[in-house]
């Protein structure tokens, strides 16, 4: 009897914090959680708009299944046409007028840069932004901003480590897009090679507006490089792979994760010309044969059919939206009844090896108070003409 009273007292004591009175910031109530978002549904980057739509579909599914801790998610997403001033206006509308609890997956590096200071001044979370720039992982100066996907620099460092291990005498040629995205990768590569930076014998760049990159590929071949690091967006990645093959250049090729879609990049380049390309994967690619019957991808396809039937089943951006949806749902579940902005940041910063089923096996979502980069791992994979074949261990943190 005495023991059971002690037990009761202890369990009550433990339960007490969890049952503490509900705490809300604007945008949260007993019935709903209001989340804001901006996405380019129109304009030059509108291909990315499908991310916003797949996230909205994900929340629709969550709501159909009873919501999160009994609360429905109200996902407000506005079009910013990838124009930073519009993002500022829409972010202010979401924060000041719609009074959302936080912003989630606002898309684009320039757009997020435009609201970076504002969100941190307002102390409203700018949660899991949809860009791979490295600057979102800066909890000391910007405690209200967090990224999600592996950032460009850590990806490039993994390639550098792999080259140093497997080909210590490599002569490296780099092709990169001349903007913050390309330069971010380049910096990671330089940092990763460290003292061996001189292994890079040629760096050439292109503008996103260039019609072709043929001359850059010819220059790289002429330099005598035997390792080719391909830091390009999908259209240019396909052109680069094809051109290199056609002029008889056969270096070891590293292809950045931005452009590994089989349907969108490798098929246009020519599957046989893409054989041997190495990349770092973290998401399950929906067009990859090995995931044909993978339970997570099968579940994802069912989700797509039911909640986002007009979305493309071969577009890995829709897997991306689904995966990031799972992550934020977990953060909100962890928040329990304490839905303050501060607690959301705290919970998002204490994900301990959380497993999202559409990420590659072994890739975990982990954060801490000093680490605002949720996904930092991936696995190297090589294209065999049909699918990406993973090799080695999961690398990165």
């Amino acid at each position: 009897m005495k023991r059971s009273i002690v037990f009761l007292a202890i369990s009550l004591g433990l339960a007490a914090p969890a049952m503490a009175q509900k705490k809300y910031d604007p945008g949260a109530s007993d019935r709903e959680i209001k989340i804001g978002n901006t996405n380019p549904y129109s304009g030059p980057a509108s291909a990315y708009g499908t991310i916003g739509k797949s996230i909205a579909a994900y929340f629709k599914m969550v709501n159909d299944q009873g919501g999160i801790n009994g609360r429905k998610v109200n996902f407000l997403s506005y079009d910013d046409s990838y124009s930073p001033p519009k993002t500022v206006e829409m972010a202010r509308k979401l924060v000041e007028q719609d009074e959302v609890l936080f912003l989630f997956q606002t898309l684009g590096t320039p757009s997020n840069t435009a609201i970076h200071k504002y969100m941190n001044m307002k102390k409203v979370p700018q949660m899991m932004v949809a860009t791979g720039a490295t600057k979102w992982n800066d909890p000391k100066d910007f405690p209200w901003t967090m990224g999600w996907q592996p950032n460009y620099q850590s990806e490039a460092r993994i390639y550098a480590a792999h080259i140093l291990k497997t080909k210590p005498n490599a002569k490296i040629g780099v092709l990169y897009q001349n903007d913050d995205y390309g330069k971010d990768y380049l910096k990671g590569l330089h940092d990763g090679l460290g003292a061996r930076k001189s292994m890079i014998i040629k760096e050439v760049s292109y503008e996103v507006t260039d019609p072709t990159i043929d001359s850059q590929i010819v220059q790289l071949q002429a330099s005598g490089a035997d390792v080719f690091i391909n830091i390009t967006t999908p259209k240019f990645a396909a052109m680069a792979i094809r051109k290199a093959y056609d002029i008889g250049w056969r270096p070891t090729q590293y292809l950045n994760n931005v452009s590994i879609g089989i349907k969108s990049v490798l098929e246009p380049a020519g599957l046989e010309k893409s054989v041997g390309a190495i990349t770092l994967g973290y998401l399950k690619e929906p067009t990859d044969k090995q995931f044909e019957n993978d339970p997570a991808i099968v579940k994802w396809r069912e989700f797509m059919k039911k909640y986002y039937p007009e979305g493309s089943l071969v577009d890995n951006l829709n897997v991306y939206g689904y995966s990031v949806g799972q992550t934020i749902a977990q953060v909100l579940r962890q928040c329990g009844d304490n839905l303050t902005r501060e607690n959301i940041m705290r919970q998002a910063a204490s994900l301990k090896s959380y497993r999202v089923d559409t990420l590659l096996p072994g890739v975990m979502v982990s954060t801490s108070a000093s680490d605002f980069a949720p996904i930092e791992a991936g696995q190297l994979q090589r294209f065999d003409g049909k699918e990406w074949v993973r090799f080695g261990d999961v690398v990165g943190k």
């Binding site: 001033p85 509308k93 320039p110 840069t113």
Partner: protein, 319 residues
């Protein structure tokens, strides 16, 4: 005339009271309306009054924004001092661009300015300028606070309201300037060139000079607007100033009313609020909805909102 002054006073009272009645976010939107109104006024001087179509005014808006941002960021200049500098820089740029471009007539000029508008974002990304422009990353600007003397005088204004009143003051000066310029000799000369340039030259109007000057003044107005816009948004980047901005300006003056000073304000309200409205109606095709609105406006008010207002008041006065 008395009636007009009375109306203007009422309008000013409304403009002065509005930020105290609405949220900070709305105040920010109203600030943008004033910014766009100045830009549209500039374009209207060129297109509405002197009849030259420009599809590249976004470039001057960008130039003004960048001049202001760079001066604040690199030279530590106070925000208010950057506005006249941006205006002067754009006047020079517009005048110089005008000299050769004005040998081109009508659609050919439209194409030349279109090229300018298309090229601007890429010029801003140019590696050699990156030291100042920040390349694709752009420049983040500090938001100005209300000046200390106002706070000391017991009139506390939050930054959004202060920025609104600052923009309102600049807008008033610019509108007065335009009004003075356009209702007199210069305005008549510009209209004469638009209507029949051979006859205008025969009357002693120096066509080339007036056209270049119109281009310069027009660019100056737009540049001032760009500087104010940069201060309000607190960020400039090449992606903010794509060709769509220039086209939006053209839409604004046509919807608001060509060759009309109040038309600039109506047009600014249109380009600020109608896209948001369209986005709320349909996520799938916001621009299709925007197009419907645009066609509706042009069809129902062929002389712009300003023309329709003029028609309505004229009808009321002469029953």
């Amino acid at each position: 005339m008395n009636r007009k002054i009375f109306l203007i006073i009422i309008l000013l009272l409304i403009a002065g009271g509005l930020p105290f009645l609405v949220s900070n976010y709305r105040t920010f939107q109203l600030t943008l309306v004033l910014v766009y109104a100045i830009a549209l006024l500039g374009l209207n001087i060129l297109t509405g009054y002197s009849g030259q179509i420009s599809l590249g005014h976004g470039a001057f808006y960008a130039l003004g924004a960048y001049v202001a941002a760079i001066l604040m960021d690199k030279a530590g200049m106070p925000y208010w001092a950057t506005v006249p500098v941006a205006g002067a820089a754009c006047f020079a740029a517009g005048f110089l661009f005008g000299l050769p471009a004005l040998r081109l007539e009508g659609l050919y000029l439209a194409l030349a300015t279109f090229a300018l508008g298309v090229a601007m974002p890429q010029l801003l990304k140019y590696p050699l300028l990156e030291k100042w422009t920040g390349g694709v990353q752009g420049i983040v600007i500090q938001k100005p606070d209300a000046p200390a003397f106002l706070t000391a005088a017991g009139i506390p204004l939050n930054p959004d309201r202060w920025l609104y009143f600052f923009t309102l003051a600049v807008a008033l000066v610019m509108f007065l300037l335009a009004w003075n310029l356009l209702r007199g000799r210069v305005g008549r000369a510009l209209v004469a060139i638009r209507e029949q340039h051979v006859a205008a030259e025969a009357m002693g109007v120096n066509g080339a000079l007036y056209k270049s000057a119109a281009f310069g003044v027009s660019a100056m107005f737009t540049g001032v607007a760009g500087a104010l816009g940069a201060i309000a948004v607190q960020f400039v980047a090449p992606d903010s100033f794509n060709i769509f901005l220039s086209i939006t300006f053209l839409v604004g003056i046509v919807v608001g009313g060509l060759a009309s000073i109040p038309g600039a304000l109506y047009g600014a309200l249109f380009i600020q609020f109608v896209p948001n409205l369209a986005d709320e109606i349909s996520k799938a095709a916001p621009w299709a909805i925007f197009g419907v609105f645009m066609i509706g406006f042009v069809y129902l008010m062929p002389t712009g909102v300003a023309g329709a207002v003029r028609l309505l008041t004229a009808r009321r006065r002469s029953p």
